[in-house]
Symmetry: C2
Subunit: 205 residues, 2 copies
Amino acid sequence: MQSSRLAQQIQFIVEIDKLKQILRQTLLTDESRRENSAEHSWHLAMMAIVLAEYVPSSVVDVLHVIKMLLVHDLVEIDAGDTFCYDVHANQNKAAREAQAASRIFGLLPEEQAAELRALWEEFETQETAAAQFATALDRLQPLLHNQQTRGGTWRIHDITRAQVLQRMHPIKEGAPALWPLVEQIIEECVLAGYLQPEPKVESPF
Amino acid sequence: MQSSRLAQQIQFIVEIDKLKQILRQTLLTDESRRENSAEHSWHLAMMAIVLAEYVPSSVVDVLHVIKMLLVHDLVEIDAGDTFCYDVHANQNKAAREAQAASRIFGLLPEEQAAELRALWEEFETQETAAAQFATALDRLQPLLHNQQTRGGTWRIHDITRAQVLQRMHPIKEGAPALWPLVEQIIEECVLAGYLQPEPKVESPF
């Protein structure tokens, strides 16, 4: 009874349930567990709605950003979540994710596959204001979580202020109006001892 | 340094992280655990994108539906998820949720609070085609999960075909083009033994 088109769409919908199993490094704000990429994507889409006013509506279509954020992590179903400070794993990330995109978006009817893949590629290539705003939100959210969890993943991995500042840099490009907030949070976290001001120096003794 | 407006927005963004802790009855498709309401909301928003063609675009603005789906469960942070077949808990659901809406949306600057609350109320009152399509997706998704988990929550609670048909009825209104699929899935589930065709009769002996 199902048309093959609808069957493809349902297969995709069932398949993407697996994104709920992909764990990120970020902890939930109550520190009870690690966040998964599906609920993370929801959180970012909500942030796009609430923080839309910090980018000019003439250059950023917020609803386009929401769609981009909803699909931006789908490739992790096959490629996994790559920890942003893991230099080694980031070397082959692009190739792993491109292959994942072909398989996962490829479950859909052709023109829908192309549409969603284009959203993902727009996010990855970071050439549009929409993609840059989406990335700004994708950086801001774990910053908020690390603040709430008193350093959460930073403490586990001995992350320093300089590393976080570098990681947050896309916010300066994609949502400059939010940059003072970012600097303020980072300084508060250093003062509170959640974030190391400088790299730990190994004692020679 | 933060304006109080931005501080309110950030407080809301941090607060809604709690939706990731609200567990629904539905299992993930691999049966590993129950689904939470944040990842569920993400899944529904993805379904709205993929299944938009089954409602006329002249009457349903899909991006409005996406926003509605992203916020539709936020009240559960205070009011909890109410199991749809729990008659008792459903009696005071509306009052509990209205109070939750006041507190949670009330964290935002006034006009944003009003906008998001209006989306939630539109979903609840079910008077627009957008709200009816959103509800159709909210019913279809657990049906797919129950099929994937070989009866999942239905088996635990001895749910019958008649109960599921009644529960799915809004799909007939909100996305009639998807109704044949719903009937097909239900019959497949009955045939496979995932769903009881009739209520269990207690033996008098």
